[in-house]
């Protein structure tokens, strides 16, 4: 039962707040000898496992560290290309850490703007006039819930598919936003939210919603 993350998108589609609430991700570190039985390939800025899933190392996991030193994208900490390094039998045995790659803040900004556009398309595609736009996006591993206020701010929550009570959580987040972000005289509208009180109260609200579990918060 978990709420994975919260995103707040302003009227223009820019991300103004983001919170990741996952349980700590499971990294796997293993020692390998040549030849490597996993198939690795470059993807965007990272090296990911393409095939050869085993022992907790899944397809899609990225190389996070080699011999304890964090990799920098496609290059090791000392600047060598990761794939070249791992192709050279002289470097073995080597200890590699794999795990799910966390999104960088730029990636989150881009995804938020894309969602904003999809939301707009969603409300236009509707056969009925005055449709609400995307309210929920469901996949097998998570559900994305979105609530757009009458003033154009969108609150997006990614949660476990079995988690209930997200609608009331979204309304609660709206209240917390109007209390701690808007009433803060030094917060400018539509700008990134950097208010401690907002963070704290949001985390509290998420914890309450999670504890309530699959039945939702008590009515």
């Amino acid at each position: 039962m978990a709420i994975f993350s919260v995103y707040v998108v302003n009227k223009a589609g820019g991300l103004i707040y983001q919170l990741d609430h996952y349980a700590p991700r499971a990294d796997t570190e293993k020692t390998f000898s040549y030849p490597l039985d996993l198939v690795l390939r470059p993807h965007d800025e990272r090296v990911v496992v393409a095939f050869g899933q085993r022992d907790g190392i899944r397809v899609g996991h990225a190389v996070l560290a080699i011999n304890g030193a964090e990799v920098n994208g496609r290059f090791t900490a000392d600047g060598k290309d990761v794939l070249e390094f791992l192709g050279n039998p002289a470097n073995y045995p080597v200890s590699i850490r794999f795990g799910r790659h966390r999104l960088s803040s730029n990636e989150k900004l881009m995804l938020a703007s894309m969602f904003h556009s999809l939301f707009a398309i969603g409300s236009q595609l509707s056969p009925e006039v005055g449709s609400s736009g995307i309210e929920m996006l469901e996949t097998d591993t998570f559900k994305l819930h979105c609530f757009q206020t009458l003033t154009g701010i969108k609150f997006v929550v990614l949660a476990d598919p079995r988690q209930a009570g997200i609608d009331s959580l979204l309304r609660k987040i709206y209240e917390i936003y109007s209390d701690f972000a808007l009433k803060n005289p030094f917060y400018s509208l539509e700008m990134p939210i950097r208010c401690e009180l907002f963070d704290q109260n949001l985390k509290l609200a998420l914890e309450v919603a999670e504890k309530a579990g699959p039945f939702g918060p008590g009515s």
């Binding site: 409300s123 449709s131 206020t149 009458l150 003033t151 154009g152 309304r171 709206y174 109007s178």
Partner: protein
């Protein structure tokens, strides 16, 4: 705490009167402050009252008069439509808590709109839900009229692009 608010507001207006010579300047200042409050208050109002989207100007004005005024000032206003086109309304306030302690305006401040902040608040709030409006005082008890009347004139909708947010 209602008293504290009313007293604070009174002190604010008094200070503005000392700072500015002309009544017009004070009125503009109050309106601007109200605008700043309105653009933030609207989200608080929508979050707490969970009202549905209003589909007409008269629904919107009713909402302001009955729900919003009640929530924030503790009084309700009555609404009347003053134009055939259906875009001009007036809110009539019998009781205005902001002027509880004010008897009358001093002689040299005859054209001061004491509660102009309310006009700014309404204007700011409406703008955030994409309704452009002009809000002014039509009658003011402090100036000797029978009631306090706030006039709202809805202008053409601010956004008329192809993409309409629903």
């Amino acid at each position: 705490s209602r008293e504290l608010f009313v007293l604070t507001y009174g002190a604010l207006v008094a200070q503005l009167c000392k700072d500015y010579e002309k009544d017009e300047d004070v009125n503009i200042c109050l309106d601007r402050m109200g605008y700043g409050i309105g653009i933030r208050l609207i989200d608080d109002f929508l979050a707490r009252s969970a009202v549905k989207k209003c589909r007409s100007y008269s629904e919107t004005t009713d909402m302001i008069a009955q729900v919003a005024f009640k929530m924030y000032l503790g009084v309700t206003a009555s609404v009347s439509c003053t134009s055939a086109a259906g875009n001009e309304f007036s809110l009539i306030l019998d009781k205005n808590p902001l002027v509880d302690f004010v008897e009358e305006l001093p002689a040299e401040r005859a054209s001061l709109c004491y509660c102009n902040v309310l006009c700014g608040v309404i204007r700011g709030a409406l703008e955030m839900v994409r309704l452009a409006a002009e809000v002014t005082f039509l009658q003011d008890r402090l100036k000797g009229d029978a009631v306090t009347e706030i006039g709202i004139t809805f202008l053409r909708k601010a956004e008329d692009r192809k993409h309409k947010r629903n």
